[in-house]
């Protein structure tokens, strides 16, 4: 049964389509509308907590082709506000599948809208930046009002919404990694667990509490929203630097740079895809990376305090850094993939190496330091 629906953006643009997944309350789902250009990996994207507060537009027109399965969840449930697609598969086909995407969306109360000219929407978002919007079966005027009322993700602490309530342990081994859950993806957890025992702690955990666990290293996870709103975490990180090796990914990377006095700013339309080229400055090697962020580190603001180790070749923004004088590094992109290429898995090995050796700056793997390539 076709449920005609519309998507209305804050600028008044209207897109006609049909409702998918769950029936939203009052016929309206709202959030910040973003896009993602991955060709596969929709289940991982939808369940990535970094999308809290957002409506995800998939640029690839066929979504749901291979269904969903138990192992591709990136968190305990989806935190996004909705999904926009051109075409949702009616019948999926893959030996790994246990259910359809439509069923999964309905199960978790996520609404979607299909039949949309997602290319038009993407072109619009590309030019204006992520924009609040609302979709559903409600009247166009109701959707318009909802879109106007939607605050977006600026200035909101979305981490509190997605972080774990209590600490828990994953894996086993001699080595202990304490992982901050700002919206931690399961793929990261799996990669960390390969290095040893991982104790996942809530975002609000203090440095003293973390150090009391006597970790070999601390991991700062990915997560949603504006890093400027997670001041408590920045505080905690300051207390950890120099005490223990630190590795951050995505939001963790932004928080690390704020902890050393850096600034973050919002990109015009963010990086959301699985095909961004990142150059590892030390080696000149290109990594094709999975990306999902709207905020970015201002390189001028960290000059002298950290070295830029990775650059995005599309827009030359900062993709990785290494803090001067202490064992701490981070990347803006997603080396854990899930979804995306495996080109940057070496970063986990680098973290292990950092945890294994003496804890001062000289212990950095040589290729993280790139004096001859300079800092952007």
């Amino acid at each position: 049964m076709i449920r005609p629906a519309a998507l209305v953006l804050a600028d008044g643009s209207v897109f006609e389509g049909e409702l998918l997944g769950a029936e939203p309350a009052d016929g309206i789902a709202s959030g910040e509308v973003v896009f993602n250009t991955v060709l596969s990996g929709y289940q991982e994207v939808i369940t990535d907590p970094s999308y809290a507060g957002q409506i995800i537009t998939f640029t690839y027109p066929h979504i749901g082709n291979y269904g969903v399965n138990a192992s591709d969840f990136e968190s305990r449930r989806p935190f996004c506000r909705g999904v926009v697609v051109r075409d949702l598969a009616r019948r999926h086909s893959n030996q790994r599948a246990v259910a359809s995407l439509d069923a999964m969306l309905a199960h978790y109360g996520i609404s979607g809208i299909g039949g949309i000219d997602t290319r038009r929407l993407t072109r619009l978002l590309r030019d204006t930046g992520a924009m609040p919007g609302a979709f559903g079966t409600a009247s166009e005027s109701a959707l318009r009002a909802a879109a106007a009322a939607e605050p977006g993700t600026d200035g909101i602490d979305l981490v509190a919404e997605v972080t774990t309530a209590t600490a828990y342990t994953v894996g086993a081994g001699e080595r202990l990694v304490v992982a901050y859950d700002f919206g931690l993806k399961h793929s990261i957890l799996r990669d960390l667990a390969d290095l040893g025992r991982v104790e996942v702690v809530p975002a609000s955990t203090t440095a003293a509490e973390v150090l009391a666990r006597r970790p070999d290293g601390v991991f700062l996870s990915n997560g949603p929203g504006d890093p400027a709103e997670v001041g408590y975490a920045v505080e905690a990180i300051r207390g950890l630097l120099g005490e223990v090796p630190v590795f951050g990914i995505c939001l963790g990377h932004q928080l690390l740079s704020r902890a050393i006095g850096g600034e973050t700013f919002k990109l015009p339309f963010g990086h959301h895809g699985g095909n961004h080229p990142v150059r590892h400055e030390a080696t000149g090697r290109i990594e094709i990376t999975s990306q999902n962020h709207n905020f970015c580190v201002d390189p001028a603001s960290i000059a002298g305090r950290a070295e830029v180790t990775h650059l995005n070749l599309n827009d030359m923004t900062v993709e990785g850094l290494r803090v001067a004088g202490v064992p701490a590094f981070s990347v803006q992109y997603h080396p854990e993939a899930g979804p995306g290429p495996h080109d940057a898995k070496y970063l986990f090995a680098m973290f292990a190496e950092l945890m294994g050796g003496p804890r001062h700056a000289d212990a950095h793997p040589a290729d993280l330091i790139a004096p001859e390539r300079g800092v952007a």
Partner: protein, 1094 residues
């Protein structure tokens, strides 16, 4: 790393003639490579024997050698040009094999010789030697199907005993899967394995456990010298393992792989290219996936650009060959800007926001005796690609792009053919892969047999089947709705599933234009989206468009005068690269003259569908609806100014559309003139008026009329349908029974059914067949002032009766008296004037005794235009295009575009290349139906030397030692005396059948060996001699009629044992002349630039 400065000149090896498995995709890649390397300042030396290619235009290389691509000839070129490097990865399997032969002889790739760039010998050997490849994959931990290699039948039997049946047999060092097959029984195994051993140039086969039915994928990988690797495109085959990927319907990107599986495959592809050692450039890695377990295995890897890489380039907008050429000279991916976005680097992986579907096109109807069953050996001759936002849309667009009378997936008159077949029979039929399977599957789904049953029978993934079902479900809704109740939403839903107006017209039994009008009244018109490599993430300026039905159109406005060039659609026998050459030249010359050029085509292999070729590219089917839509879009984008449309350069495809388009838009010769030449009655009247003799003849729509004509003109007659190209279904008919058979085949749903059958508008043409006449072809250009340029007069080697596309021809004419040539030229001027031609015209003549008969005239580009251009140095297609838009020949001479031909002092021969080695069941005797897939040119100082080169380039080695076998039809025997005498003088032995031997002996030419007839069970026959390798060359001419017993067996034996043969006495005479003139001499090589220097 910047580009290398230690090399200055680079030799590119082309792929030679168009053959099955190696088509114009290598012209596309080679042209890109030539352009890029010249732009980078390197001296480019090119060798390619194919004159129809764009790459062999003298403008694209510094030295262009249209010479045979054998290692000996290439070695001569290397000796002469002394290049610093050789790029072997642009010329398909031919390029690789030739490079390897040169390497093995120490001519390249070793210190002190030209370096191999792109892929070195070790890498090529690792990828191409199946056993080596398998070991390499096992070594890096990748799974491969269990297998073993064999060099003899005994070894083969031992392997199969170990791995079991069914198994697949793949010969080493072959292209397009030649000699490959699946065996399910031991009997089949014996046959397939021995075929495979024969097909492999090194007598090596890989015997592999069959994984038929698994899902099949391909990844296009690029690597630079800093070891950066990216995947450009993933491709999923709709047809599962068991059908050669070149014969499979394929889709990009992969549809049914989860990201975890895709990334695993991506990692494996990188590991593969690194292990094989392709240092820079593109490679294609094929995988199979077990649909039940997800198990992945590596099937094979091509360490070069390929058909798939051309498809991937067109599918993503990422020009793989161009990038591969840049990487080969040392750039890294991050140093090269993305061509399309300009702002971002090429070191990325394209993301696409549409679905691409490729469907192959076959030519089984031209090859009687073939089964039409698809397998592991490629048999298709061309392909189409279509872009849609969804799979159903792109599939339906692709199916109507094929030009085989289908309007989409069913919902057209041709679906009636399946109506009478019951469900079970149809299900059983569809379980065997054939060209018709996709429509059979569509019909089964429409009948409601269910996705699971159809999946069980075909192993096509349920996702694809479900998507196809959406089309049929919508069809039911549309039928119930009817044309008058359609609202905007309903129209949009139908069009988004790819329904053509023609399908809806059929469904509702109304006229197509009525559907169009109703749809447009509802405000539903196509929107054109852009192929931009990045799914709209970045702004892109490259205007590469496809139609779909969405909210937003992306064609940018401009106010320059614009010209739309309609391309030639999928390659097929009779219409191939020659027409793409003409379209591309049109685009180049109009761009130079300040026009905005717009290309419409659906063939992913071609240069015309390179987004660089024209100002705008529409990757669209060439149907009335789609072309009218493009015209409307262009008119909108230019503020209402109607564009001009060129219909006469792309062969029959655009010509057939001419009458369906607004007549005032057509550039050049008017559709009325085209019709005047095509309509037999009008044409006859014209020839009468001009007093130009024609063979007597008439037109018929049924047998009775046909009989009346032969009563008047007598047998033999030439019978052919109108409005076809390549002599489709053309026959020489000697008696009444044969005539009845021929008429039946042409009528209704006979073998020509899919092309339209017979009607008053499409009658059969019946002409007196002139025996022993010399055929002559002329290409000419006439401008609007009446000035005519004779581009080239070509004398055919084979007599009239062999299709001009299958016969060799020479420029200048070799035996015609000069007064005959002058008469011919006068006739051409007169006809061109009478037809008021504005642009190209091709006229065919038959010269019999002292009479010059005109056979037909076609006021359009012919197949020979590029050959004439290469032979004379005059860019005919460019000149003609300008003339079509109003320039005069005088103006073009003044401009410097039209130069005087340089046709003196050398002879150029065009020779046809036939696909028989792939079809051992087909008789190789030439006839009036064209069957060649491609052509080569031999150019040298004399006819004999040029003919020798042309034959060598076409794969026919004219021997200098050994025994030649002769078996001649009675009428050919006198010429046989001369042939035998020359062979004797050259020191060759002669074997012959009894009849031929006795005849020759009577005239003083005793033979060395006489054999009996195969049909009489003789102890020693020609077939035995051929099978035992006792003869090096076969001359066998068929009897005028029938005669398909012994002769056919002899020809088939020669074909399957790779013994070169000729099947006409004229070719035999030319061959002995070639042998005589080349005897004891080295082949001399010379570049086109030298031939045409002035």
């Amino acid at each position: 790393m910047p580009k290398r400065t230690d090399i200055h000149s680079i030799l590119i090896i082309g792929s030679g003639p168009i053959v099955i498995g190696q088509a114009c995709e290598f012209d596309y890649s080679g042209t890109q490579a030539c352009r890029v390397l010249r732009e980078e300042g390197y001296r480019v030396i090119l060798v390619n024997s194919n004159p129809a290619t764009i790459m062999t235009d003298p403008d694209f290389a510094d030295a262009t050698y249209v010479e045979p691509i054998t290692w000996e000839v290439v070695a001569r070129i290397i000796e002469r040009e002394r290049p610093d490097a050789v790029l072997p990865t642009m010329g398909g399997q031919t390029g690789l094999n030739t490079a390897m032969a040169l390497f093995e002889r120490g001519i390249i790739g070793v210190p002190g010789t030209p370096e191999m760039i792109g892929a070195n010998a070790e890498a090529i050997a690792t990828a191409e030697d199946r056993e080596k490849f398998k070991q390499a994959m096992i070594e890096i931990g990748l799974a491969v199907p269990s297998s073993g290699t064999a060099h003899t039948m005994d070894e083969a039997r031992a392997v199969v005993a170990q791995i079991g049946l069914p198994c697949i047999i793949r010969p080493a060092y072959i292209l397009g899967g030649r000699g490959t097959g699946i065996a399910s029984t031991l009997d089949e195994f014996e046959k397939v394995a021995s075929n495979g051993l024969q097909a492999s140039p090194i007598s090596e086969i890989l015997i592999e456990k069959s994984i038929a039915g698994w899902k099949e994928y391909e990844l296009e990988v690029m690597r630079d010298r800093a070891d950066n690797c990216v995947i450009i495109c993933s491709i999923e085959n709709v047809d599962p393992m068991g059908v050669h990927t070149g014969d499979s319907i394929t889709v990009a990107p992969a549809q049914t792989l989860s990201d975890v599986e895709y990334q695993q495959m991506r990692d494996a592809a990188f590991a593969c290219i690194r292990r094989v050692g392709v240092e820079t450039g593109g490679s294609n890695v094929q995988f199979a996936v077990n649909p039940l377990t997800g198990e992945q295995v590596v099937i094979e890897m091509n360490p070069r650009v390929s058909r798939s890489s051309a498809l991937a380039s067109k599918a993503t907008g990422f020009p793989i060959a161009k990038m591969a050429a840049k990487l080969a000279v040392g750039y890294t991916l991050d140093e090269i800007p993305n061509d399309i976005t300009k702002m971002t680097p090429a070191s990325f992986e394209p993301s696409i926001d549409y679905v691409v579907t490729k469907v192959p096109r076959w030519a089984f109807e031209k090859l009687p005796g073939t089964t039409g069953v698809l397998g592991t050996q490629m048999q298709s001759v061309g392909e189409v690609m279509a872009i849609g936002r969804t799979f159903p849309e792109s599939l339906q667009k692709a199916l109507r792009s094929l030009e085989q009378g289908r309007f989409g997936l069913g919902c057209d008159p041709a679906e009636q053919q399946l109506a009478a077949i019951d469900d079970d029979t149809l299900l059983a039929t569809a379980s065997v892969a054939t060209p018709d399977r996709i429509q059979q599957v569509g019909e089964l789904l429409r009948r409601g047999l269910g996705i699971d049953r159809v999946h069980d029978a075909t192993r096509i993934d349920p996702w694809f089947l479900d998507q196809m079902s959406l089309i049929h479900e919508e069809r039911e809704v549309l039928a119930a709705t009817g044309p008058t109740a359609m609202d905007t939403r309903a129209w949009r839903r139908a069009k988004r599933l790819g329904f053509s107006d023609a399908q809806l017209a059929h469904l509702w039994q109304v006229d197509e234009l009525t559907v169009r009008a109703a749809r447009e009244a509802a405000g539903v018109i196509p929107t054109y989206k852009t192929v931009d490599t990045c799914a709209a993430e970045f702004d892109a300026s490259t205007p590469y468009h496809y139609s779909t039905y969405e909210d937003e159109d992306e064609v940018r406005p401009s106010d320059r005068p614009r010209v739309i060039i309609l391309g030639s659609g999928p390659n097929r026998i009779g219409q191939g690269i020659e027409f793409d050459y003409c379209c591309v030249h049109a685009s180049f010359s109009l761009r130079d003259a300040g026009y905005e050029t717009v290309m419409v085509n659906c063939n992913p292999e071609t240069v015309s569908t390179d987004y660089d070729t024209s100002d705008r590219l529409y990757f669209e089917p060439l149907t009335r609806e789609d072309v009218l839509n493009v015209i409307a879009a262009e008119q909108r984008a230019s503020g209402g100014v109607a564009p001009k449309v060129i219909v006469s350069l792309g062969g029959q495809t655009p010509l057939k559309l001419a009458g369906l388009l607004p007549v005032d838009l057509i550039a050049g010769t008017s559709p009325a003139s085209i019709d005047l030449a095509e309509d037999r009655e009008k044409w006859n009247a014209l020839c009468n008026e001009l007093q130009i003799p024609q063979p007597p003849g008439g037109t018929a729509t049924d047998l009775e009329q046909a009989l009346q004509i032969v009563d008047r003109i007598g047998f033999p007659v030439l019978v052919r349908p109108s409005y076809v190209l390549g002599g489709r279904a053309m026959q020489i008919v000697h008696d009444r029974n044969h005539l009845a058979r021929a008429m039946a085949e042409l009528a209704g749903f006979g073998s020509l059914g899919r092309e339209g059958g017979l009607s008053a508008e499409r009658p059969v043409l019946i002409d007196r067949f002139l025996e022993d006449a010399t055929e002559v072809d002329v290409d000419a250009i006439r401008d609007h002032t009446g000035d005519v340029l004779i581009g080239g007069v070509m004398e055919h080697v084979e007599e009239a009766g062999v299709h001009s596309g299958d016969s060799a021809c020479a420029i200048p004419p070799q035996t015609l008296p000069s007064w005959v040539v002058e008469v011919i030229e006068a006739y051409v001027r007169s006809i061109a004037g009478a037809l008021d031609v504005r642009g190209l015209i091709n006229v065919q003549f038959a010269v019999s005794g002292t009479t010059v008969y005109v056979i037909e005239a076609n006021p359009r580009a012919s197949r020979t235009v590029p050959f004439v251009a290469k032979a004379t140095g005059v860019p005919l297609a460019k000149v003609a295009t300008r003339v079509m838009l109003g320039a005069t020949l005088t103006e073009l001479r003044a401009e410097g575009l039209l130069r005087t031909p340089s046709e003196h002092g050398h002879v150029a021969i065009k020779e046809a290349v036939l696909p028989f080695s792939r079809f051992p069941e087909v008789d190789t005797a030439l006839g009036p139906e064209m069957r060649s897939t491609g052509e080569v040119m031999g150019i040298d100082s004399t006819f004999g030397k040029a003919f020798f080169k042309a034959e060598l380039a076409a794969g026919t080695v004219l021997p200098s030692t050994g025994t030649v076998f002769l078996s001649l039809a009675d009428g050919d025997k006198p010429a046989g005396i001369v042939v035998a005498k020359r062979l004797r003088q050259l020191g060759l032995g002669i074997a012959a059948t009894q009849g031929t031997a006795a005849y020759l002996a009577r005239f003083g030419q005793a033979v060395d060996l006489m054999v009996g007839k195969v049909s009489e069970g003789a102890e020693l026959t020609a077939v035995d001699l051929i099978a035992d390798g006792k003869v090096v060359f076969v001359i066998n001419t068929p009897q005028g009629r029938g005669g398909r017993t012994d002769g056919e067996q002899i020809r088939k034996a020669a074909n399957s044992h790779h013994v070169s043969s000729v099947t006409t006495v004229e070719a035999a005479l030319a061959a002995v002349q070639g042998m005589a003139e080349q005897a004891g001499r080295e082949i001399a090589v010379r570049s086109l630039q030298e031939y045409h220097a002035r």
